[in-house]
C-alpha cells in the first residue's frame, strides 16, 4: 500500500522533475557555449595578453602541448604506421591499391589523428584542468582574485583554454604531417617517383570543404577540451564532497561533445 502511494507520488512529481532537469540541462549547455564564446573572444583580443597573462598562457602551452608533443608524436607515428600497413596490404590483396593512399589519408589524417589528439589532451590536461578549477572554485580562489582586482576569467581560465586549443592543434598538425609522410613511404617506399601521384591524391582529398572542415573540427576539439571541464567545475556547489562529481560530469560531457563533433563532421562529409 505504501509502495503504491509512493509510486503515485512519484508519477505526479515526475513531470515537474523532468521539466526542472531539462531546464537545468539547457542552462548548463548555455553556460558552456557562453563561456566558450567568451574565451574565444578573449583569446583573440590582444588586450588579453599583458605580461602576467602571457606568462600564464606560455606556461599552459608548455604544460599541455610542449611536454606531450614528443610522446604523442611517437605514439601517433606508430599507430599510423600500423594502420597504413594494414590498409595498404589489404587494399593490395583486393586489387584496390590505387585507393589505399586516399583511404589512409581520409581515415588517419582527417579523422583518427584529430580525434585521438583531442582525446589525449582531454585525458591528460582536460581532467587536470577540471580537478584544478573545481578545487580553486571550492577554495574560493576566484573570489579572492576578484577582490584583489584581478579578473579570474582572464588570468586563470582563458590561458587554460588557449593552452588546450594550441595543444590539440599542434598535436594534430605535427602528427598529421608525420602520418602523411609515413603514408607516402608506406605506399611508394623510398622512391621519389610517387610524388606526382601522391600530390594529386592529396589535392583530391583536401578540397575546400574538407580542409575547412578539418580546421574547424580541430579548433572545436581544442576549445571543447578546456571549456567543458571548466564550465562543469564552475557550476558545481562549493562543497568538497561534490568535487569528484564535477570532474566525472565534466569528463563525460567532454567525451560526449567530442563524439558529437566527430559524428557531425563525418555526417557533413559523407552523408
Amino acid at each position: 500500500m505504501r509502495q503504491a502511494s509512493s509510486l503515485h507520488r512519484d508519477i505526479f512529481r515526475a513531470p515537474g522533475e523532468v521539466g526542472t532537469a531539462f531546464l537545468g540541462w539547457g542552462a548548463s549547455w548555455w553556460r558552456v557555449f557562453h563561456f566558450g564564446a567568451l574565451a574565444l573572444v578573449m583569446a583573440l583580443s590582444p588586450a588579453t595578453y599583458d605580461k602576467e597573462n602571457r606568462a600564464v598562457t606560455a606556461k599552459q602551452i608548455y604544460f599541455t602541448a610542449w611536454q606531450v608533443l614528443p610522446w604523442f608524436t611517437v605514439l601517433a607515428a606508430l599507430l599510423s604506421m600500423v594502420l597504413i600497413r594494414i590498409v595498404v596490404v589489404s587494399a593490395q590483396s583486393y586489387g584496390l591499391s590505387q585507393y589505399a593512399l586516399q583511404m589512409v589519408v581520409r581515415v588517419l589524417v582527417l579523422e583518427l589523428i584529430p580525434l585521438s589528439a583531442a582525446l589525449f589532451v582531454a585525458l591528460r590536461s582536460g581532467a587536470a584542468i577540471n580537478t584544478e578549477v573545481t578545487l580553486m572554485h571550492i577554495r574560493g580562489d576566484f573570489d579572492a582574485m576578484q577582490r584583489a582586482g584581478v579578473d579570474p576569467l582572464r588570468r586563470e581560465l582563458v590561458p587554460r583554454v588557449i593552452g588546450s586549443a594550441v595543444s590539440v592543434v599542434a598535436l594534430t598538425a605535427v602528427s598529421g604531417v608525420i602520418a602523411l609522410l609515413l603514408a607516402y613511404l608506406g605506399v611508394y617506399g623510398f622512391s621519389p617517383w610517387g610524388l606526382p601521384g601522391y600530390t594529386r591524391t592529396i589535392g583530391h582529398v583536401f578540397d575546400l570543404q574538407v580542409s575547412m572542415g578539418l580546421a574547424l573540427k580541430t579548433l572545436l576539439f581544442g576549445l571543447a577540451v578546456a571549456v567543458i571541464p571548466i564550465t562543469s567545475s564552475l557550476e558545481m556547489p562549493r562543497e568538497v564532497r561534490l568535487a569528484p562529481v564535477a570532474v566525472l560530469r565534466g569528463m563525460v560531457r567532454l567525451f560526449l561533445v567530442l563524439v558529437v563533433i566527430e559524428g557531425a563532421s563525418l555526417a557533413v562529409k559523407y552523408v
Binding site: 606556461k59 610542449w66 587536470a128 594550441v166 598529421g176 600530390t199 583536401f206
Partner: protein
C-alpha cells in the same frame, strides 16, 4: 599529474618554448596549406574543356580526366544545359593541354569497382591543339549497365542448353541416331552399312564396285592397245623412213629446185639486159630500115611484077600474095 602553475618551480624559457611551438604549428599548417593549394593546381594556368554527355551519372566534381593513365584534368563543375544534356566543365593545366588535340576522343566509363573515369584518347598527336573552351561530346561506357543484359542473355543461353540436353531434345535424338549408326558400322559391311542404312544396299554397292573394277581392267587393256597404236604411228611418222623424214628430203630437193630457179632467173635477167641492148641497136637500125624498106618494097614490087609476069606465063602457083618481114 595536474599542472600547478602557481606552485611549480619556474620553467626555463617557457615563453620561448611556447613561441617555438606556436611557430612550428603555424609553419606546418601554412606549409601544408601551400602544398594542398599546389596539389589542387591553384598556381597553374589552365584551359577550359567542356564535355557534353547524355547522362552525367557518376561524374563528380573534383574527379580526374586521364590520358594514358595519367591525370591531366579535373572536373570543376557539372551543369545541365538548355537542351537537357549534361555539361561537364574540366580544367586542364596548360602544360598538359598539349595532349589534347582536335581529333581527341573523350570517354566516360564506369568499372565494376570504383568511380566513373573520364578518359581522353589522342590518336594523332600532330593534329592542331584543342582550343581553350572547346566543347566536345563524351562517349559513355558502363560496365555495370551491361550486367542486366548479360544476365538475361546468360539465362536465355542456359535455357537453350537445358532444352538441348533434355530427354526429348533433338540433341539426344541425334545421339540415339548416332548410336544406331555406330551399331550398324559394327556389322559385316562396316561403315558402308551405316552410311547406306542396310546391309542389302551395302552389298549392292560392293557388287557395283566389283563390276567397276572389271570395267577398269578392260579399260586398261584398251589403253594398252592404244599405246601400241601410238607407238606404231610414232614410228611411221617420226621413224627413220617415216613421213617426216621423206618430207624433209622433199624440202631439201625443193630447196635445190629453188636455187636452180634463182639461177635461171639470173640468166633471164642477163638475157633481158642483152635484149635491151638489142632493142637499142634495133632502134638505130630502124632509121635505116625505112630506106631499106622502100628499096625492098620497090624490089618486091619488081619481084611481084616479075612473078605476075611468070604466073601469067607459068601457072605454078595460085597464091600470088607476098608477105613482108
Amino acid at each position: 599529474m595536474p599542472p600547478e602553475p602557481q606552485s611549480a618551480p619556474p620553467i626555463p624559457h617557457v615563453e620561448f618554448k611556447a613561441a617555438v611551438l606556436l611557430a612550428l604549428t603555424l609553419a606546418l599548417i601554412a606549409g601544408f596549406l601551400g602544398y594542398v593549394m599546389y596539389a589542387r593546381g591553384v598556381f597553374e594556368s589552365k584551359q577550359r574543356l567542356v564535355l557534353i554527355a547524355d547522362d552525367s551519372e557518376g561524374a563528380k566534381v573534383g574527379m580526374d580526366m586521364t590520358f594514358s593513365g595519367f591525370p591531366i584534368g579535373r572536373v570543376q563543375r557539372i551543369e545541365l544545359a538548355e537542351d537537357g544534356k549534361a555539361r561537364i566543365l574540366i580544367d586542364v593545366p596548360q602544360k598538359d593541354a598539349r595532349w589534347l588535340r582536335t581529333s581527341t576522343v573523350f570517354t566516360m566509363e564506369r568499372g565494376l569497382v570504383g568511380d566513373v573515369r573520364i578518359r581522353a584518347y589522342t590518336g594523332v598527336l600532330d593534329d592542331p591543339p584543342l582550343p581553350d573552351g572547346a566543347t566536345r561530346p563524351v562517349l559513355r561506357g558502363d560496365a555495370s549497365a551491361e550486367i542486366p543484359r548479360l544476365v538475361a542473355t546468360t539465362r536465355a543461353l542456359l535455357e537453350n542448353l537445358e532444352r538441348m540436353t533434355g530427354a526429348s531434345s533433338s540433341l539426344s535424338e541425334s545421339l540415339a541416331n548416332v548410336q544406331t549408326f555406330t551399331e550398324r558400322m559394327k556389322g559385316r559391311y562396316g561403315a558402308l552399312a551405316g552410311v547406306l542404312g542396310s546391309e542389302d544396299n551395302a552389298k549392292k554397292v560392293i557388287t557395283a564396285i566389283d563390276r567397276t573394277n572389271a570395267l577398269l581392267a578392260s579399260v586398261g587393256e584398251v589403253s594398252q592397245k592404244l599405246d601400241r597404236i601410238l607407238a606404231k604411228t610414232d614410228e611411221r611418222v617420226f621413224g627413220a623412213t617415216g613421213v617426216m623424214d621423206e618430207t624433209q628430203q622433199t624440202i631439201a630437193q625443193l630447196n635445190v629446185l629453188l636455187r636452180d630457179a634463182r639461177e635461171s632467173l639470173k640468166k633471164v635477167d642477163a638475157v633481158l639486159a642483152e635484149a635491151q641492148a638489142i632493142g637499142a641497136n634495133t632502134r638505130a637500125a630502124t632509121v635505116d630500115l625505112a630506106a631499106l624498106r622502100a628499096e625492098v618494097e620497090a624490089s618486091l614490087r619488081k619481084v611481084a611484077h616479075l612473078v605476075d609476069e611468070i604466073n601469067r606465063k607459068w601457072p605454078f602457083a595460085r597464091d600470088t600474095e607476098l608477105k613482108l618481114p
